[in-house]
Amino acid sequence: KNSLFPMQARPKYTIDDIWPGLESGLTHLLFNLTEGFSLDSHMKLYTCVYNHCTTQKPVVRGVATGANFAGEQLYYRLCNFLQKHMKGLLNNASSKIDDSLMSYYKKEWDRYTTALSVINKIFQYLNRHWIKREIEEGTKEVYEVYTLSLVIWKRNFFDLIKHRLTAVTLSLIEKERSGDYIDTSLVKGVIDAYVRLGAVSDKIEEHMQVYNQDFNDAFLKASESFYSHESNDFISKNTVSDYLKKVMKRIEEEKQRLHTFVHPSSEFELMTRLDRVLIENHRDSIWQEFHVLLVNDKIEDMSRMYTLLSRIPNGLQPLKEIFEKHIQASGDAAILENANRALLDPRLYVETILKIHKKYSTVVTSAFRNDTGFVEALDKGCRKFINNNAVTKEAGNSSKSPELVAKYCDILLKKSPKNPDEQEVLGIINDIMIVFKYIEDKDVFQTFYSKVLAKRLINGNSASEFLEGQMITKLKQNCGFEYTAKLARMFSDMSFSKELQDNFRKDVGKDLGVDLSVLVLATGSWPLSPPSTTFNLPKQLAACREAFQNFYTTEYQGRKLNWLTHVSKGEVRTTYAAQQQYSFQCSTYQMGILLLFNENDCLTTSEMQTATDLVQPVLLTTLASLYKTKVLNSSTGEDIVSTTKFTINTDFKSKKTRVGINVRVLEAQTQADKETHQGVEEDRKLQIQAALVRIMKSRKKLSHANLMTEVLTQLQGRFKPKVVVIKKCIDILIEKEYLRRSEKEKDVYTYVA
């Protein structure tokens, strides 16, 4: 009866007793595993190992440190067995080349590792006892059976063929890169083997060592070299656009390769080298091409360029600079093309700007994925050409830009059959706000806008209250409450005036014989100056004025009304015309002159001057407008002198019954604009001085350079002050004794309390 008791009489289990059976079992596992391996055989072999290890006397070396285990002889028999197997493999492999070497290696590796996982289990008793003890005591070159098998494979087979094997593997990969089909599972299998050979080490950091040293280094070098050659060759024979396409494709393919058969740990290093070789080494050529793509609107190509240059350090910087310059140049060119017309046509001016902005905004979105650096370049470029272009040069003034933008707003907000519907106008206003954002001289815009708004309100010309309100809201959002405060007050004055008028009409107004409207406007909020001339009001109007004056001062004692006759208007009806009667919408000054003809058939210039008490320039302008509109005949035609005789033109004809004759002469307009600009300059000087005082009051002492910076920063929301002007203002303040130059330190100012 068999038993596990070592003491009882049992067959011997020396190494020579058990080895033959064991060896044939191992041989079967190594070479014939496909035929199957029964549980019974497994148990038999396991028992063999067990019996040997439990019955044999252990070899004792040196000091015995507790129980010793048998097993050394078995261990080295196993080693020899495996080494012999390796010799056979090496022999067979020596004659194999190319793919066949790889196939042979993979096949043998798979077979070997599968067999050894079973063999490891069979030798488990040895693993748990003798081997474990040897390892604990630090004996070198003793491993658990599975690890041992890998060590033997590596030393006796792999290390001797690894250079050939790696070379063949790399050439297969190169073949695949060149477009041929290869057996990727073969490559994957071989590479996997490299990785698993690394697992012989205890330390986890060393697990990829075999892969890295014996494969990866060579792989990366070969990849670099391959792509270096390919890219140099390709770029010399093809356009940059085609090159970029190729690079995108190659990078995608390499990513795929990494997933399919190369180990993913190579990814970072490989991609870094590819970026260097494919992109960085050719960046000059790529950068040079950018301008061409921009000019030709090649969105797809630019998008590709962006993607690829994003991968290398500082790849995009030159693009941003080129982009900014190009936008500025395009904007300049577009405006230059239309410069002469745009100077006088606000709509054309703004639309030209918007076209450029929209075009390059689209490029930023579609080619550069809204990259902040490119958005910034767009802003910088737009800012430059919007504030400095052919139109501003011709006007001799960078403030021409905000002036035109304000005037375009006026065109849109005025009643006109040419204007589109409300929603569309709102859309255009939103676009205008884009341009507004870039305007540096926002104070100029404000000044012009309030002037044209005043005219719209006084003349009742607004297309839509909703749009007027929207405009104010958007300006407020952009520039703050203070910027739009005066404008808002203008609107409230209008509604207050309406209320006032209604009360007046109910009260006194109905008895006047004249349909009278009065707008009462708070002096500080409106950009209106008092009349530049005296004027004798016709008696009908004088009565009206008195009536209203009484009405108002009764309500609001202590308030003074200044009548702005120069912006007032009215309507007169003819009684002399041949076929039909006309209604003339005219200015009050025109009315004054026309009413004179109720009592006179013919009047000279100087006679009219006496009667109306208008100053010469105003009289001449008014008479010119009456002549141009064919309401009056002039004895000297266009050139009006003091002796020119005027008569009513009884042959006046017009298709309309109501005729507007209150035409503005162009010189007057240009002159008015010039004055507006001058006003802005004066205003700015005061702003600068106020800022200087504010800054110095809080800082007490400041260097010239810092003071300049502070002033520029404080005022940048409203306008860009010129350095020369700031210097002048500093001198003014020193004269006025607000500031003083420090005696001890150079270029330092101190505040004088």
Binding site: S3, L4, F5, L39, H42, Y46, K121
Partner: protein, 115 residues
Amino acid sequence: GHEFIIDRRPFSHTWCCRVMSDTITLVSAEGHEFIIDRKCALVSKTISSMLEGSFLENESGRINFREISTPVLEKVIQYFYFKVKYNNNTSPIPEFTIEPEIALELLMAANFLDT
């Protein structure tokens, strides 16, 4: 709960199990066949490593222990079930009694089976 019914008839010991499907047959040196839950057999590392990746798939799970006597094998199997029942169990674990006559053999068997 689990009912153990020990039938001492020779040559045929059958544990009544909860589940009759996944089973393994362990055969003692004398030829007694013990049909047990596969799950319980896996308590032995030696048995479990043999069973994983078995290369003869259609072979019935049958292992011959020519060196383990019947009473010892029986006790070992008792232990397998004991271990499975009380593993990760929070209720108090009863003592697993071992008759002194078989203690040494049981120890050797445990060593052999890596249990």
